[in-house]
C-alpha cells in the first residue's frame, strides 16, 4: 500500500485507513486503525495478504527541508556477482551454511567446538557447521539453535544439503577443532574430545565418510573451505596452516 498523502511519510503494513487522510505527518506501520493525529507511526502485526511491505521508501524528511543534495536517495552499489567469489560466507558459532556455489565457507573461534564441512562433489553442494556441544540440550522450553549441537546440527545441515541437491551418503566430510584450551575440572574426557567423537558418530550414522581431521591439542583454530578445490584450510593463532 502506498501512501499518497502529503505528509511526506509512508504507510507500511495493514493500514486500515485507505484514504489515509490523517494529517499527522508520520508513518503508519501495521495495524493502524487509528485516525488520530497523534503524530506517531504504528507498527503492528501485518496480517494482510497484500504486498505493501515491499519497496516503499521510508526516508522521512523530518529535519531536512532544504533543497540541498543530501535528501535521502540511497543507490544500489556493488555487484553481487563480483563479490561472490571473493568473500567467504562466514559461519558463526552454532550456525551452519549450505551452498551450491563456489564461494568459500569459513568459521573462526574454534576451541573445543568442531567445524564440520560436508561436500558432495558430484552435485557440487557443500555445507559447513560450527557446533559447540555433543548432544542437544535436555531441558525443555529452551530455544537453542539446532546448530549448537553435533547431533541436531549435522542432521539439519545434511537435510539442507539434500534439499540443495546433494546426497549425504556419497558426500565426504572434513573436520577440525575439539581442542582442550582451558578445561580444568570435570569429566575424564574433555568437551573437545566428546565433540569430536559425537561428530564422527553422527556422520557415520548418515553414511558420510570422513576424509580428513585435525582434532585436539590446546590451540584455537579457524578454517576455510574452498568448494572448488575441496581444500579445507585449518589455521591456528600461531599462524600455522594445515591443508586437509
Amino acid at each position: 500500500m502506498s501512501d499518497d498523502d502529503e505528509d511526506g511519510f509512508t504507510v507500511y503494513g495493514a493500514d486500515d485507513d485507505d484514504d489515509d487522510d490523517d494529517d499527522d505527518g508520520f508513518t503508519v506501520y501495521g495495524a493502524d486503525d487509528d485516525d488520530d493525529d497523534d503524530g506517531f507511526t504504528v507498527y503492528g502485526a501485518d496480517d494482510d495478504d497484500d504486498d505493501d511491505d515491499a519497496g516503499i521508501p521510508v526516508f522521512t524528511p523530518s529535519s531536512d527541508d532544504d533543497d540541498d543534495d543530501d535528501d535521502f536517495d540511497i543507490p544500489v552499489f556493488g555487484d553481487e556477482d563480483d563479490t561472490e567469489h571473493l568473500d567467504p560466507i562466514t559461519v558463526g558459532i552454532a550456525e551452519y551454511a549450505v551452498t551450491d556455489g563456489s564461494q568459500p565457507l569459513s568459521t573462526s573461534g574454534l576451541g573445543s567446538c568442531v567445524a564440520v564441512v560436508v561436500h558432495d562433489e558430484r552435485a557440487a553442494v557443500s555445507g559447513l557447521l560450527h557446533f559447540m556441544l555433543p548432544e542437544s540440550a535436555k531441558s525443555k522450553g529452551r530455544h537453542d539453535a539446532e546448530a549448537k549441537f553435533a547431533d541436531t546440527g549435522i542432521e539439519t545441515m545434511l537435510a539442507d544439503l539434500e534439499a540443495a541437491g546433494g546426497t549425504p551418503s556419497r558426500s565426504w566430510a572434513k573436520l577440525a577443532g575439539g581442542a582442550s584450551m582451558i578445561e580444568f575440572s570435570g569429566s575424564d574426557r574433555s568437551i573437545g574430545e566428546r565433540n569430536a567423537d559425537a561428530a564422527r558418530e553422527v556422520l557415520a550414522d548418515h553414511g558420510v565418510s570422513i576424509d580428513g581431521t585435525d582434532f585436539g591439542g590446546q590451540s584455537g583454530r579457524s578454517v576455510v573451505f574452498d568448494p572448488e578445490t575441496g581444500e579445507f584450510t585449518v589455521k591456528s593463532a600461531s599462524g600455522e596452516e594445515k591443508y586437509l
Binding site: Y12, G13, F26, T27, Y29, G30, A31, D38, G39, F40, T41, V42, Y43, G44, A45, D46, G55, P57, V58, F59, T60, S62, S63, D70, F72, I74, P75, V76, F77, G78, E80, T83, I93, S108, G109, L110, G111, S112, C113, M132, L133, A137, K138, S139, R142, H143, D144, A145, A179, M181, I182, E183, F184, G186, I191, Q218, S219, G220, S222, A237
Partner: protein
C-alpha cells in the same frame, strides 16, 4: 523504573532482540539496496549515569524515537562519530569522506537509523502480534564538533532509570559498524516484557550494583598497583554486565591474538575469569613487569619463559583483585583453580570458556572490565563469565 529481567523471560527477550535485528536487516537491505545485516550481540543492564555519560560524549550521535502502544518508552540509538560517518558513507557513497563528519553525514545517519529502528519495531510488533506506535527520530546528541544538543533528559531518561541495552553491529560490504541501542521503558511495558513479578528471580540494577561494587573493592588499588609496575597510568575504561546466549558471546570478540591467564571459579558462583592482554600490551608487560618468584599455576599450562612469567604475574594481579571483590560482595570465599596461561585467538579463548560453563547453560552472565591507558599503549580486558542462576542463588541467600 529500573528494569528487572526475570530469568525465565530471558529466552523471550533474546528472541525479541533477534527478531528485531532480523526486521532491521530486512528493512535496511530492502529499502536501501545495500547488502546489510544487523546482528544483535549482547544484552546488558546499564545505569542512567553511564548512559547519560555516553550521550554527552562529544563524539556521540544519539537518536531518540518514542514508542507507544504495546511498548511505551523511548529507544535511543548511539553511534560514535567514526561509526556515524561509516554508516552514512556505507549507505550514501556519494558523501565526501575527505571532509570528515559533516551535517550531511549526521542527517544521513539519522535517516538510516530511522529505517533500522523501524525494522526493529516492526519485528517486535510482528512477534507480539500487537501494535507499536513510533515517532519520527530526533537527534538528542550531535556528533558534530562544537554542536551541543543540550540536555538529553526526557520523560524516560532520568536519574534512577536504568536501561536495557543491546550492543549490535551492522555488517555492510565495507565492514562492520557497531552501535548501541538503549530501551527506556515505562513500568507497565517493562513488566509485560520481562515479567518480573514480586519475588521472582531477577537481574536488575541491584545485580549490576553488586558487580560494580566488585570494581570499587578491588580494581582501584589494582590500577594503581599494575600501573606502578608498568610505569603507566592505568584506568578502568569500561565496565558492563552482559546477559548473552553462550554461543553469541564470542561472536562479539575479535579473532586477534591475545595472551593472559584463565582461572575457573569452582564453587558457586561457578564460571571462569579471563584476563587477556592484546599483542601490544603483551610486549609491554613482558618488558616492564618483574616476574613473581612463586605463582600457583596449572600443571599443563605453566609459564616457562620470562615473558610468560611476566604475563602470568600481571594476570595474577588482576585475578586476585577481581576474586577479592567477588569474595567481598558474595560474602564468602570464592574458590578458584590455579592460573592457566593462555595465548591464542581471543574469540577461541572466550568461546571455550563459554562452552565449558556446561551444556545446561543457555545464557552466560558476563561482567566485563576494560583496563587501559588513554593512548592505547596498554589494554587488558577481564571477562568474568558466570552461570546466571548461581549469581541469583547467591544474592538470594
Amino acid at each position: 523504573m529500573s528494569p528487572k529481567l526475570d530469568l525465565r523471560k530471558l529466552e523471550e527477550f533474546d528472541k525479541m532482540a533477534v527478531d528485531g535485528a532480523d526486521g532491521a536487516t530486512k528493512r535496511l537491505s530492502g529499502l536501501t539496496g545495500v547488502e546489510a545485516e544487523v546482528e544483535c550481540s549482547r544484552l546488558h543492564v546499564v545505569s542512567t549515569e553511564e548512559v547519560l555519560g555516553e550521550f554527552e560524549r562529544d563524539d556521540a550521535l544519539a537518536i531518540s524515537i518514542h514508542l507507544e502502544g504495546y511498548l511505551e518508552g523511548e529507544v535511543v540509538t548511539v553511534f560514535d562519530r567514526q561509526s556515524g560517518q561509516e554508516l552514512a558513507e556505507a549507505f550514501m557513497p556519494m558523501l565526501p569522506s575527505d571532509s570528515g563528519y559533516t551535517d550531511k553525514h549526521e542527517g544521513a545517519a539519522e535517516e538510516i537509523c530511522n529505517v533500522m529502528v523501524s525494522g526493529y519495531v516492526d519485528g517486535w510488533a510482528d512477534m507480539k502480534e500487537d501494535s507499536i506506535v513510533m515517532s519520527p527520530p530526533e537527534a538528542v546528541s550531535s556528533a558534530i564538533e562544537g554542536e551541543d544538543e543540550g540536555s538529553v533528559e526526557t520523560e524516560y531518561i532520568h536519574e534512577g532509570a536504568d536501561a536495557i541495552a543491546q550492543r549490535s553491529t551492522i555488517v555492510t560490504p565495507d565492514g562492520e559498524i557497531e552501535f548501541e541501542m538503549y530501551m527506556f521503558l515505562e513500568e507497565e511495558s517493562t513488566q509485560r516484557l520481562f515479567g518480573a513479578e514480586s519475588g521472582s528471580v531477577t537481574l536488575d540494577d541491584e545485580t549490576l550494583g553488586t558487580f560494580n561494587a566488585v570494581i570499587d573493592e578491588g580494581i582501584t588499588s589494582l590500577t594503581e598497583h599494575l600501573g606502578g609496575k608498568l610505569d603507566l597510568e592505568v584506568d578502568v575504561e569500561h565496565t558492563v554486565l552482559d546477559i548473552v546466549p553462550t554461543e553469541r558471546l564470542s561472536g562479539t570478540v575479535s579473532d586477534e591474538g591475545s595472551s593472559g591467564v584463565v582461572v575457573e571459579l569452582t564453587e558457586v558462583p561457578r564460571g571462569y575469569l579471563l584476563v587477556l592482554f592484546d599483542e601490544r600490551s603483551d610486549e609491554l608487560v613482558s618488558r616492564r613487569v618483574e616476574p613473581a618468584d612463586e605463582l600457583t599455576t596449572d600443571d599443563e599450562r605453566t609459564p616457562e619463559t620470562d615473558r610468560e612469567r611476566a604475563i602470568a604475574t600481571a594476570g595474577n594481579e588482576v585475578v586476585e583483585s577481581i576474586v577479592g571483590g567477588l569474595t567481598e560482595q558474595f560474602g564468602g570465599p570464592i574458590e578458584t583453580t590455579p592460573l592457566a596461561l593462555v595465548e591464542d585467538m581471543r574469540s577461541s579463548i572466550v568461546n571455550d570458556a563459554a562452552v565449558n560453563l556446561g551444556p545446561d547453560e543457555r545464557f552466560v552472565l558476563n561482567f566485563e572490565v576494560g583496563l587501559g591507558t588513554t593512548d592505547g599503549e596498554f589494554s587488558c580486558t577481564v571477562y568474568t563469565l558466570i552461570r546466571p542462576n548461581d549469581v541469583l542463588d547467591e544474592m538470594d541467600r
